[in-house]
């Protein structure tokens, strides 16, 4: 096995940690706004798990970077172009159905990736993934059930879920793109090649969408530019104005 390149490992950790950070923040925006109390609590708990995972991933990323920064520094003191999350997680929440569809598309990917990362040649990656995999297994149970319940629900809920799927599916392909950093991670046995997860992901989506009576778009066109930071959507900047406001207005503030 090749010795992993420090920059590649840092990129890999930012990618996974920024995904959980930005999605966790997005999901937390529902707090106090969900259609019923139980769903509000479920969304807040999901967000909390994702932010917890972020602390572990970005905490390790900061150590690997070796510039004396912390997970908080990485979360609150970087600007848009330094983020490495996929575009899917920064998209606005839309309605409740769209939020849960996005959650399912994310959970499906995470549920395939994390058990593999739990076998990583890097013990730190392996232990974080082992912990997060259990939480994600719980999340996908709920997001898949909700997609099925709303998809195979009323005419109104079905139409909204189909619209959510049509809108979001072209963003899911970004999970499976690879570049030099991914190839370095795969060569070092730290993480699988992202592309290698696609067939299982498609099969999982096909099963759930069939139960949900929803049609997967046929086109494989994918929006991209988040995981390499080349071109985020306009939405990420707006997320950061909320998420980073306190540290920007009161640098170094703690309580």
């Amino acid at each position: 096995m090749a010795e992993p390149d420090k920059d590649a490992l840092f990129q890999f950790l930012l990618r996974i940690g920024d995904n959980t950070l930005i999605l966790g923040h997005r999901v937390s925006e529902w707090c106090g706004h969900a259609p019923v109390l139980e769903e509000d609590i479920a969304l807040a708990n999901t967000a909390l798990d994702l932010i917890g995972q972020t602390q572990l991933w970005l905490g390790y990323a900061a150590e690997v970077q070796g510039e004396g920064r912390s997970a908080d520094d990485l979360a609150f003191l970087r600007d848009v172009w330094e983020f490495r999350n996929v575009l899917l997680v920064e998209l606005p929440n839309g309605d409740f159905g769209q939020t849960l569809m996005r959650q399912f598309l994310f959970d499906a990917w995470a549920s395939l990736l994390l058990p593999r990362l739990a076998q990583s040649a890097d013990p730190r990656v392996a232990e974080i993934a082992e912990k997060a995999a259990k939480e994600v297994a719980y999340h996908i149970e709920r997001s898949a059930d909700t997609v099925v319940g709303l998809g195979d629900g009323t005419e109104e809920s079905h139409a909204r879920m189909q619209a959510a799927l049509d809108y979001l599916y072209p963003y899911a392909g970004e999970f499976f793109l690879s570049d030099a950093a991914d190839i370095a991670m795969a060569a070092a046995g730290i993480a699988p090649d992202p592309a290698s997860l696609r067939a299982e992901y498609d099969a999982l989506l096909a099963r759930v969408m069939a139960r949900a009576t929803l049609s997967l778009p046929e086109s494989r066109f994918t929006h991209k530019g988040g995981r390499d930071g080349r071109m985020h959507t306009e939405h990420l900047g707006h997320v950061l104005t909320q998420m980073q406001w306190l540290q920007r207005a009161y640098p170094g503030c703690t309580w």
Binding site: I41, A42, L48, I51, A126, K134, E141, R142
Partner: protein, 157 residues
Amino acid sequence: MVSVAGQPETGQIWNWLSEIPDPEIPAISLTDLGIIRDVAWQGDTLVVTVTPTYSGCPATSLINMEIETALRARGIDKLELKRQLSPAWTTDWMTEEGRAKLEAYGIAPPQPAGGPARCPRCGSDELEKLSQFGSTPCKAQWRCRACLEPFDYFKCI
């Protein structure tokens, strides 16, 4: 108290830790919860290894503070708290005593089947799930169809 001559036995320290209530579910202790993974002396420093229940559990830092406060009060001044992620915490590590205390408190204990065995209030097994999540990361909401009371169920992970 710690004498100059010797350090408290680790068994004694486990007993002290078993008196610390979980900050969010005070009916059970930290040792009942199974999150204390190891207690060991390394030279003159006591190393307590703790594993988080959920990665985002807000009680984690409070739990560390409670451990530190309790052990310092027993005279242990050289103390290191070590976070251990692997093996990941499982509800299988909850003690039998902890499960019984949870049920007496009104929280259905975790079951391998994935749902509560019976209503912690009336004992009926006519139950329905209200939500997979609850008031803390470790709980879900269920309701008893017999006595109609909602109750917390400690998630099985």
